[in-house]
Assembly symmetry: C2
Homo-oligomer: 253 residues x 2
DNA sequence: CGATCAGTTGAAGGCTATCAAAGACTGTGG
DNA sequence: CCACAGTCTTTGATAGCCTTCAACTGATCG
């Protein structure tokens, strides 16, 4: 919470918000991110990397939603996870010749090149130790969300899955300053929700109506409102991944 | 394939097999692994780390199977992924205060402490660059398998899921020298298979029988035989994650 | 204003779960 | 060596969640 408040007029606000909620960033780290300048953008529906392709160049998502996706030969599609504003692509990745999925933009997106951040990450410069911590934490969070996705798909009902997913999206968006406890942007079609939860479009529609009837959730016009967040948490057994500042963020050796 | 063949009488054979199939290890790296000596073992059914606990200390699995698991309050259980002989626990992990799941041993297991390897990983010693490559590749593979798990659970039928999982287990086991193209050890109960595939025990039983009737797969006495591996691949749309030696294993900067 | 796309609704059916109980297998102790 | 308990596997019957198919509405757009 130190240096970040001083200059909020930064293009990478979302990313900066997110990282500084993961570790207390120094002035130098904040400035490194603020000085990022190489912007780019794409429309909705673009494939950013095919399955066997080399890793994507590092960048932050400033705005817009994407998804990592896998297809089956007969057209079935599964969304592996979402990529939200403030999150990163190809940052902190292990150098890896195997690209693991295709990325698809679900809305128009804006990026900012993160090569300087990646460079700081690969260095051992103590100036950016906090930044490395934050990015490692972000990667751990990503993994935690992926594991939640497995639990949802494997052992939860359609009803529980949707509640669980909505709570996760709320928490992820609030990390970068988008959305609040009870409402947040949700620029997804029901088809996209279906592909993320492993359900059919029709069933997504019916479960959403049930949630609406029961006064739990209202999804309309690209936004979601959680009317009874606590009840939702119980229904879905949702647990926010703990980002505990107390726990030491240091390697073992 | 260089130094490894010379001394096969090594306790960490499985781990060494696996890593040297991921990168061409130098004499020094091979010796580092061969010199690991701190053995330990546990019986089946032991929980190794609870969900919110700190990361586990680094070690290699020499023998035995484990699973990472999450539970729901009403007793439903989902296996997130399997941990097989030759694979590692807590090696190459980001320093992370969030432990993401509970680990459970499914059979008696033997470990060997991997602290020296972890130390080489955290260093920048060029001697062990190849070893770092191999371990990074192993981590990428783990992620690829996790993504496959999502696809299985979200968009495949019970029949396809089982075929896909069996093919994955075959490939993972063959990497460390256990099992072959058409048969491999499978020390799992049907309940465990059910928890891994998100199905009920009864249904696993019926699908296994169907696969047997059709002459595709025979699972008996802790072993699996794939009678028509090619047909299975087609059914499950299984794709072995490419470990291409050609692709450069170097960071961008 | 036709066309396209997202959302909605109804009916029918299939895949998979649940319940219940009977066989097989394993290891133990007498 | 056998009885026995416990776990794993198998089988049948029933039910239900969710899918598929089909059609209709409403909105957006050139």
């Amino acid at each position: 919470m130190s240096a970040i408040r001083e200059r909020t007029a930064c293009r990478a606000v979302t990313a900066l918000n997110r990282l500084s909620s993961l570790a207390d960033l120094s002035e130098a780290s904040v400035r490194l991110i603020q000085d990022l300048s190489d912007l780019s953008s794409i429309p909705a529906g673009v494939e950013l990397g095919s399955e066997r392709e080399a890793a994507l160049r590092p960048r932050f998502v400033l705005g817009g939603w994407a998804a990592r996706v896998r297809w089956l030969p007969d057209g079935r599609r599964q969304i592996l996870n979402f990529i939200l504003p403030g999150e990163s692509i190809g940052v902190c990745e292990r150098p890896s010749p195997l690209s693991l999925a295709t990325m698809v933009s679900l809305t128009p997106m804006q990026f900012i090149d993160a090569v300087p951040v990646q460079r700081a990450l690969n260095s051992t410069d103590p100036t950016f130790a906090d930044l490395r911590d934050a990015i490692h934490m972000a990667a751990s969070l990503d993994e935690a969300f992926l594991l939640s996705q497995v639990l949802r798909l494997g052992r939860q009902t359609a009803y529980e899955r949707l509640c669980h997913l909505l709570l996760e999206l709320r928490d992820r968006l609030s990390m970068c300053g988008l959305g609040e406890e009870t409402h947040f942007p949700l620029p997804l079609t029901q088809e996209t929700l279906a592909d993320a939860t492993g359900l059919s479009i029709v069933h997504i529609n019916r479960v959403l109506q049930q949630l609406r009837r029961e006064g739990l959730v209202a999804v309309h016009g690209g936004r979601a409102r959680l009317l009874q967040p606590e009840l939702l948490r119980t229904i879905a057994d949702y647990r926010k991944p703990l980002v505990s500042a107390e726990a030491p963020l240091r390697p073992l050796f």
